[in-house]
Amino acid sequence: MSVVELRDAAVRLGGRLVFSGVDLNVQTGEFLAVLGPNGAGKSTLMRAILGLVPLAAGRATVFGGTPARARGWIGYLPQRSGFDRATRLRGVDLVRLGVDGTRWGVPLPVSAVARERRRSERDRVDRVIEMVGAAAYAHRPVGELSGGEQQRLLIAQALVRTPQLLILDEPLDSLDLPNQVAVAALIRRIATDEQIAVMLVAHDVNPLLGYLDRVVYLGGGHALTGSVDEVITAPKLTALYGSPVEVLRTRDDRLVVVGLPEAPHHHGHRHDEEP
C-alpha cells in the first residue's frame, strides 16, 4: 500500500518557491532518507506531508487521504536541539506525553474501563521504551541524559501511538558517529519489524548507508528519488543543480559530495534551515 504519494508537488514559503515538480511514492515498511544541502526544503517537504504547510501546486496523498486527515497515523519527531540540562521530567513521562499529551483534563480512574485503558497505555509506553533500548535510563530526568539517549526516547515517543509512518527530522544531527549508526540500525529494525514507513531527514548519508531502502535528494528546487547508488552520482547531482558536482567514494565506502552550491555538511548550523 502507498503510504505517501506526491504528484508534481510544489511549496511556496513567503513568496519563495522552495521546490516544485516533486514526485514521490513511499511504501509500507520502507526506510527513506531525505537528503540535500541547507535550505533545500527537506523540513518543508516533511511539513507538507504532515499537512503543516500547504502545497502551492500538485497533490499530496497520505494513507489515501489528505495529509490533515492522516495525522493520527504519523509519528513525528521535529528538528530540535537537546533538552535543557535542568529539564526535570523523566524519560518515561516524555514518552507518555506521546499517548496523552493532547488530552484535555486529567484522568480519573473511576471506572473499570478507564483503569483498563490506563493499564494498556502504560504497557504500550513500556513496550516502545523496550523497543528502542531505553529501559535502563527511562526513569532518569531527560536533561541528564546524553544526546543519543534523548533521541531514542523521542523516537519511542513518536512510536507510542503505533503510527504507520514515522517522520524524523534530523534525528542524528547532534549525535556522534557511533550513535548515529546505532540509531540508524534501530530505525531500520523498527521499519522492518513493525512494517512502518520511515522518512528520515539527514545532512549526511554516510551513517545511514547499508540501512536505507531509498533516498530523496532535494536540491536546486527539485528532487531526485532512487537508491543511493542511483541518485548520489556525479551526473545526476550535476543535472539536479545545473552546476558541476563531484561524488567521491572513500576506501571505506563513505560518500563525499564536492562542489555543491552550498556546503553539504553544516553540522551545528541547523538554524540556517528554513522552518
Partner: protein
C-alpha cells in the same frame, strides 16, 4: 489583638493562641489557599522557565495597588487588574515569537521598569498610602478580611479548574513546543492562558507576601520539589506541601515575633530550597 504574643513552648497552647484571633484565622486561611494554588501554578512556571515573567507580574502588582488606591478602588482589585493586563500585554509580544516566551527578556525588562516607575508616581500623588508602601512591597498578614478570603477561594478554584483542564497539553507544550504544535495543541493560546493564570497566582500571593517576596511561595517551593523529584504529579504535590509549610511557619513565626511575615516566609522558603539542593547533590 493580643498585645503581647509570646511563645510558651507548649504546642497546644501556642496553637490555641494562634487561632484565638479572627485576623490570624483569616491570615491562615488566606495563606493556605494561596500556598496551594500558587505552588501548583509555580510548578509549571519553574518548568517553563518563566520565573522572570512571574517576577515582572509581581512588580506590576505594585503600580496596580497604588493606582487603585489613588482612584479609590479596592487595592486587591488593583492587584488583579494590573497583573492581568501585564499578562495579556506580555502574551501579545510573545505571540509574535516562534520560540515562545522565555526569549522575550528585553520586553519583560522594559515592562517591569515602566511598571515600577508608574507605581512610584501613583504613590507620590497619593501621600495617604505612603505609610503602606512597606506593606505593599514586603507584605503583611494583618487586616486580611473575610471578604478577601472568600475572593481568594473563588480565584483559587477558577485557577485550579483551568489548570486541571489544560494540565497535560500545557505540560506537552512546555517540554516540546514544536511537537505539541504539530500535534494540534493551540500552543500560543496556552501561552497566554498560562500567563493569565500566573497573573492570578501572583496577584493573590502578593497580598500576603508583598510584591517583592512573591517568590517565597510561587518559586522556591516548586523549585525545591523539582530538585527532589522529576515525577510530574509527585513534584506538583510536594511543591504544594512545601508552600504550605513555608506559609504556616512564616505566619506563626511572624505572630510570635516582632519581625514581618515576608521576612519569615522568604527565609523558610530559601531554607527549603537549600536543603532540597543539598539532598539532591548528595544522591
Amino acid at each position: 489583638m493580643n498585645p503581647n504574643p509570646s511563645l510558651k513552648f507548649d504546642l497546644i497552647a501556642d496553637l490555641r493562641e494562634l487561632f484565638a484571633f479572627p485576623f490570624m484565622v483569616h491570615a491562615l486561611e488566606a495563606g493556605t489557599i494561596v500556598a496551594v494554588f500558587a505552588a501548583a501554578v509555580g510548578w509549571y512556571m519553574v518548568l517553563r522557565r518563566q520565573s522572570f515573567a512571574g517576577h515582572t507580574l509581581s512588580l506590576m502588582a505594585f503600580p496596580g495597588a497604588t493606582g487603585a488606591a489613588l482612584i479609590g478602588l479596592p487595592v486587591s482589585l488593583g492587584y488583579y487588574l494590573a497583573c492581568g493586563a501585564a499578562a495579556i500585554a506580555m502574551g501579545q509580544t510573545a505571540r509574535a515569537s516562534t520560540r515562545g516566551f522565555s526569549s522575550e527578556t528585553a520586553v519583560i525588562g522594559t515592562v517591569q521598569t515602566v511598571g515600577l516607575a508608574a507605581g512610584y508616581v501613583f504613590l507620590s500623588l497619593n501621600s495617604a498610602i505612603l505609610s503602606g508602601t512597606e506593606t505593599l512591597l514586603f507584605g503583611t498578614f494583618l487586616g486580611v478580611t473575610q471578604g478577601q478570603v472568600a475572593a481568594l477561594l473563588v480565584i483559587a478554584a477558577v485557577t485550579l479548574a483551568l489548570l486541571t483542564a489544560v494540565a497535560r497539553p500545557l505540560l506537552f507544550s512546555t517540554v516540546d513546543r514544536e511537537l505539541a504544535r504539530a500535534s494540534g495543541i493551540p500552543v500560543a493560546t496556552l501561552d497566554v492562558l498560562f500567563l493569565l493564570l500566573l497573573a492570578l497566582a501572583v496577584a493573590a500571593t502578593s497580598q500576603i507576601t508583598g510584591v517583592l517576596l512573591v517568590f517565597a511561595v510561587l518559586v522556591a517551593p516548586p523549585a525545591a520539589a523539582q530538585q527532589l523529584t522529576s515525577r510530574p504529579l509527585a513534584g506538583l504535590l510536594l511543591g504544594i506541601l512545601f508552600a504550605l509549610l513555608v506559609v504556616w511557619l512564616g505566619l506563626a513565626a511572624a505572630y510570635f515575633s516582632p519581625w514581618p511575615v515576608g521576612f519569615y516566609t522568604t527565609t523558610f522558603a530559601f531554607a527549603v530550597y537549600v536543603v532540597a539542593r543539598l539532598i539532591r547533590s548528595r544522591r
